[in-house]
């Protein structure tokens, strides 16, 4: 196979450099350092809201699916939205709201639809309390680009999926690659300070993120 000789050469150099002439399995790596604290849900919700708000995003708590639907309706009044095919969104009745377009299964069509819409609505697999983050795994029901292309992103996530932080996420998902080609941890709106260190939001990704805990 082309390139095999380059690989062999580099691996041979590495083995010589590290004194492992015959390769073989290494000693055990250091144990992962993951700490999962006990934090009651109410406190997690508070942490999450504070953290996301500090980043100029907004956290909402909906007591029911109906409340969540009403909230989304309010947030998208007068605007057009692209919703992912997440079963959660259908369950909450989001996909039947006026102005919401959904059901895209072709990447090209999806990109074109996103070009003229105002809001992207997705589910989220998890949320992280200490950083105010959303965790989205790409799936047949969840495209990558909806949370990225539109200027406003609304994500709905069941309360029980609100984890304490990164460590808990990687404890539950020791290998995200086993589930998906793309896991993205979204922590607030897109931002840059590349011009004179002045903070500007919505560079390439959304300028506003709404997280609805249901």
């Amino acid at each position: 196979m082309p390139g095999d000789d380059v690989r062999d050469e580099i691996l041979a150099k590495i083995r010589a450099a590290t004194g492992r002439p015959s390769g073989g399995p290494p000693p055990q790596p250091p144990k992962p350092l993951l700490t999962v604290p006990e934090v009651p849900l109410e406190e997690r919700i508070e942490q999450f809201s504070a953290a996301l708000e500090k980043l100029s995003g907004k956290a909402h708590v909906a007591e029911s699916a109906e409340a969540a639907r009403a909230l989304v309706e309010e947030l998208i009044t007068g605007r057009s939205a692209i919703a992912s095919n997440s079963p959660l969104l259908r369950e909450y009745g989001i996909t039947s709201l006026t102005g919401v377009f959904t059901g895209y299964t072709d990447a090209a069509e999806l990109k074109e639809a996103c070009a003229s819409a105002d809001v992207g609505i997705t589910g989220a697999d998890y949320a992280l309390a200490d950083t105010g983050s959303l965790v989205t795994l790409s799936a047949p029901g969840e495209a990558r680009l909806i949370s990225l292309l539109l200027p406003v992103h609304i994500a709905l996530v069941p309360k029980q999926r609100l984890l304490t932080g990164l460590d808990e996420l990687f404890t539950l998902l020791p290998d995200p690659a086993a589930q998906t080609s793309s896991m993205v941890i979204i922590t607030g709106p897109s931002r840059t300070a590349d011009i004179e260190q002045i903070l500007v939001k919505g560079v390439h990704g959304p300028r506003m993120v709404h997280a609805i805990l249901v």
Binding site: V6, P29, A107, A143, A177, S181, G205
Partner: protein, 479 residues
């Protein structure tokens, strides 16, 4: 061996607004980092550093194993691993693939490794348009300049310069507000993302067991580069590997805080291979190109190996009092600051870059903040020894070597040391006060350099041991 680039350094130091910008920006980044490590996190942070250091050490000591594991896992996910010995091989692979697929436009997100290899130049030679999509990188690409900082490439540019630049290169109306300038860039680049045939990114970490890469960013351009075009190529140095997905957590906690004071950057993408069956979007093909480019050489020196632990956070740059004065452009390579000072001569040899390890007052701030605990101060000292050996070998350190040999002789012969009052003869004036003047013939070499910015102390009429002897006599008389 090349001389120190004094003129270039002087130019930066005498350019007030630029100097101000560098010093102020790095100061802000220092403050942000400090704020992200409050007292109650101090102990945890130290543990994370220890763990990160341990993981890097283990991974590099067994790099061949993890590379083979990576290849196996990546292939299982539908991706392909490509090895490259040097910059030419990376560039050739990417260019060849782009041509094969009829790619006319490539969108790129920030990657130190692709800068290391001047990828854009290679692609443009083949008539393939390459667009940097990180806002700061986009700006300096338009301006035809080099980035001045690992994390903040356009640190040195003002909004007025950017206004002029956009008007000239993008044929838009002149706009001085950063927010509106950003929207202009967003509009222009969005079109590129959606029409490009290839997206090229770097990778902050490469996860062996998962066959995955981790890409972190704040803008969203790396996500677009890796998700919009049909083909995604990620480029990274072979040293970027970590064993498991679970190891990524500790690095993420260190990297954002160390770089910009963020517990997490806005987007953290964990990507393994092209889109899976049933997934709606994402690339259809994924390639990971791993570059040696001299890393195996450093790997082979156990006392130097930790130079490869670097996770490119930029903290050492921000805290370095020398970098804060001279900025990134005075370093000869894409890697600047303390980390640049230690890896540049290791990659390129001492001939041109021998002076880099000396461009430091050895204050130690870099080692103190390095999230993976690279002992940069120790490496600076060791590289100085190597540079001196080179200079002696090439006959360029005759005077200096003689001076130190003389010094060592005096310092090991106490009576000669006591007699060394020559200094006094030269500068003797009175016992108090500091001298601004040195007699003409002696105003040379180190003395001349000192006197350019400071006065010299006048040596005292009596040295310590004479005063001590007198003091002891007085004590004896009292008793």
């Amino acid at each position: 061996m090349k001389p120190i680039p004094v003129e270039s350094i002087q130019k930066t130091l005498s350019n007030d607004p630029l100097g101000e910008a560098i010093y102020a920006s790095t100061g802000r980044l220092m403050a942000k980092r400090a704020a992200a490590i409050p007292d109650h996190l101090r102990e945890d942070f130290e543990q994370w550093r220890e763990q990160a250091n341990r993981i890097k050490r283990h991974t590099l000591e067994n790099l061949d194993y993890y590379l083979e594991l990576l290849e196996e896992r990546l292939r299982a996910r539908g991706g392909r691993l490509v090895y490259a010995r040097d910059e030419a091989e990376v560039a050739r692979f990417i260019t060849r693939l782009a041509k094969e697929k009829g790619v006319r436009l490539v969108v790129k997100s920030k990657s130190m490794t692709t800068e290391e290899i001047h990828l854009n130049e290679w692609l443009e030679k083949e008539g393939i348009e390459t667009v940097e999509t990180d806002l700061g990188e986009y700006i300096i690409q338009l301006a035809g300049e080099r980035p001045s900082h690992i994390v903040a490439p356009a640190l040195h540019k003002t909004r007025y310069e950017i206004a002029d630049l956009f008007r000239e290169k993008l044929a838009v109306e002149r706009e001085e507000e950063p927010e509106r300038q950003t929207l202009i860039a967003r509009r222009v680049l969005r079109e590129k993302f959606l029409s490009a045939g290839l997206g090229v990114t770097g990778a902050n970490f490469v996860v062996a067991e998962s066959g995955a890469i981790v890409v972190i960013e704040n803008e969203g351009n790396a996500r677009l580069c890796s998700s919009a075009p049909p083909v995604h190529i990620a480029v990274a140095g072979i040293e970027k590997l970590v064993p498991r997905a679970q190891d990524v957590a500790v690095f993420l906690k260190l990297l954002g805080r160390s770089a910009t004071g963020q517990p997490l950057t806005v987007y953290t993408s964990f990507l393994s291979g092209p889109r899976r069956d049933g997934e709606i979007d994402g690339p259809q093909e994924f390639y990971l190109v791993l570059l040696d480019g001299g890393r195996t050489k450093i790997l082979g020196e156990p006392s130097r190996r930790e130079s490869l632990y670097c996770i490119r956070c930029g903290a050492c740059l921000n805290h370095c009092p020398v970098y804060r004065k001279i900025g990134g452009h005075n370093y000869p390579w894409v890697y600047s600051g303390p980390i640049g000072a230690i890896i540049t001569p290791q990659f390129h040899g001492m001939e041109k870059d021998w002076w880099l390890p000396f461009a430091s007052s050895l204050c130690g701030a870099c080692g103190e903040v390095c999230p993976v605990k690279i002992d940069i101060p120790r490496l600076l000292l060791e590289l100085r020894v190597e540079a001196v050996r080179e200079k002696i070998r090439s006959g360029e350190a005759r005077l200096e070597h003689l001076a130190f040999r003389l010094w060592a002789w005096v310092m090991t012969h106490p009576r000669a040391y006591e007699a060394a009052g020559l200094f006094n003869l030269v500068l003797r004036d009175d016992e108090t006060g500091w001298k601004g003047q040195v007699p003409g013939p002696f105003r040379t070499g180190p003395l001349k350099e000192w006197l350019r910015f400071r006065n010299l102390p006048a040596p005292p009429a009596k040295k310590f041991r004479d005063l001590w002897a007198a003091r002891q006599q007085r004590e004896a008389l009292k008793e």
